[in-house]
Amino acid sequence: MAQYADIVEILAPGEAAGGSRVDITVRIKNTYSSAIGIMVGGALEYGVSPWPDISFPDPSANVDGGATHSFSGYFTMPDKKVTIHAYSYYYGGDGSWHFDDEMTKAIDIAEEIESEFGSIEIVSYARR
């Protein structure tokens, strides 16, 4: 259970093709009574070490008390199933970021469809 920066959900596709860009949104709620600084972070778990980071162009924001903020991020889909780990942090009175919450979501690798031709027909013919 988060203290102040509660991760509500991770919005991401259920599957993605290897090598494609995957856009995600992490929604974090400020459960404190007034505005605080909230920061997002993320990493990808798929069998490599260290876990690669997820890019968040705007990773922090001042969020009003009780409000939920959406943080947009992206990463390149590896060639296997990946688990997103999203983290939340709040800015404490001591001037430091404090880890608060974690949520995970799995993204399957999309099966690539082999090239297939269905039909062909002549639609016109003309002398040139």
Binding site: I113, E114, I120, I122, V123, R127
Partner: protein, 139 residues
């Protein structure tokens, strides 16, 4: 008048088609539509003029080029053309037409359009046959 025979719920449907007249030196441009799904692909697009017979299609002239098909997540239709140069290798008469995608083992083959190409005899060289006086008067 050419034609194509298409299977339908009523049996075989006869679809009359206009024919095109060509002669040696011309190019015949054939435009076709094909459907594709899946990853990007490069395949030869092939078209031939000839005669459909009991033993298959007897090709006389053909044209081919490579087409680059983009990735299609769902079935998509694409249009492409191919030119066949009409040479003296083909004699005057009516011919059939078909196209296909793929090499030795085609991916798809179009229905054959019957008698849609009429190859005209080559225009003979300039030649004068005879001359005669048709009139004479003072001017």
């Amino acid at each position: 008048m050419g034609a194509v025979y298409l299977p339908s719920q009523f049996g075989v449907m006869f679809l009359p088609l206009a024919n095109v007249q060509v002669k040696p030196g011309d190019k015949l441009r054939i435009t076709c539509q094909y459907s594709h799904i899946g990853q990007t692909d490069s395949q030869p697009l092939y078209a031939a003029i000839g005669n459909e017979g009991w033993a298959g299609f007897n090709e006389v002239l053909h044209g081919s080029k490579t087409i680059n098909v983009p990735e299609n997540a769902t079935w998509n239709y694409h249009e492409e053309y191919i030119d066949i140069t009409i040479t003296t290798a083909i004699s005057a008469g009516f011919y059939d037409l078909y196209t296909k995608i793929g090499g030795t083992f085609p991916k798809v083959i179009s229905p054959t359009l019957l008698d849609v190409v009429e190859v005209m005899a080559e225009t003979p060289e300039s030649e004068f046959g005879e001359i005669s006086i048709t009139d004479y008067a003072k001017v």
